[in-house]
């Protein structure tokens, strides 16, 4: 009986090695089998030992009004993301994931939550454009624009580096987006949880109720 189990185990081990070997031939950097094995156990949230201080950003909101990030979001659970609207892939999916998860919070908590999208492409993302784009995702989301060096400096204090938009040889503008969403606690106003761009709706749905209370997800 025992030996049989061992044989089966050996076969399984060999089979998974096979998958790994084949997978890596196609997709150069990641063996397919290993990635899918870990997907279930991996946590999307990274809780920081040393939270980030909220950046001291004073920018312009989608109404064209001055928005002092620290003042406006003090004592509120806050998510901050740096991106741009001429971004077909990661920026809309990140914001949409948060929007869908947010709708599953009780109404009062939805109203407390501040989701702040700071543009990395302020020349194109004027208040009106930003407002129109965010309205298509969640009308409660806050969009901020301003001058690029201010935005870049604010992002840098959160460990996010963004280069200014530049033109490629066809004259098309290339902008950059941050790869992380940072959650700030309503209790300490510290940025204590990070999410990578592969965080899903389910991850945010599971974690937002905790973040709303300043607890660790």
């Amino acid at each position: 009986m025992r030996t049989k189990t061992f044989a089966a185990a050996a076969l399984l081990a060999a089979a998974s090695l096979t998958l790994t070997a084949c997978g890596s031939g196609n997709d150069s950097d990641k063996p397919v089998a290993v990635v899918s094995e870990q997907a279930g156990t991996e946590k999307a949230a990274t809780v920081l030992d040393k939270p980030f201080e909220k950046p001291d950003l004073v920018l312009t909101d989608t109404q064209g009004k001055k928005y002092d990030l620290r003042k406006e979001t003090e004592g509120k659970p806050t998510l901050i993301y740096f991106g741009y609207t001429h971004c077909p892939d990661v920026c809309p999916s990140t914001m949409s994931n948060i929007a869908v998860a947010k709708k599953q919070l009780p109404k009062a908590e939805q109203d407390e939550l501040r989701v702040v999208f700071v543009t990395t492409d302020p020349d194109r993302d004027k208040p009106a454009e930003l407002g129109k784009w965010l309205k298509g995702i969640d009308p409660q989301f806050i969009g901020l624009t301003g001058d690029f060096p201010t935005i870049q400096a604010g992002a840098r204090t959160l460990g996010i580096s963004i280069d200014p938009p530049h033109k490629d040889k066809n004259g098309k503008i290339i902008s950059e987006h941050g790869t992380q969403v940072i959650a700030f606690s309503p209790k300490t106003d510290g940025g204590y949880v990070l999410y990578g761009e592969d965080a899903t709706v389910d991850d945010y749905t599971k974690d937002l109720p905790k973040i709303a209370k300043g607890e660790n997800p």
Binding site: T3, A10, D27, C87, S96, S175, E197
Partner: protein, 160 residues
Amino acid sequence: MRRRLGPAALVIAGALALAGCGGSDSESGDSGSGSGKAELSVGSAYMPQPVSDEMAAGFFTVTNKGGAADELTSVTSEIAGQVTVHETVGSAMQEVKGLKVPAHGELVLKSGGNHLMFEQLKRKPKEGQTVSVELHFAHSGPVEVEMPVKPATYNPKTGH
């Protein structure tokens, strides 16, 4: 006696592994038809419902069973004035002239990596619709793809 089952099983599995993978480098010398050219098929295509009618993204996987590489060179669609192929480098996305489809390999377009960018949309694609896309390659003939429009938050790993 029974104990030898273990190593024996391992050896058999090892042989299977060799048979399964061996193709990738040795098959190019085969006399079979098809081995000297690309044999493409396209799967896992989808478009996340875009935020606005300005731009959209598209993803799919091209599988090449043939013994020669090919290259995705351009894309056209009934829905967009322009479709371009992009790669993601760090946190920037940039247009590329083409993307290689390796022999006996795959070209994967997925969120956070290579993707199509649809611009000058003629209408805003809505969840449940399909978008017709034609892929053009350096060597193989064009491939028509019916791309289903999925929710903005669609994740192919979980299927929702």
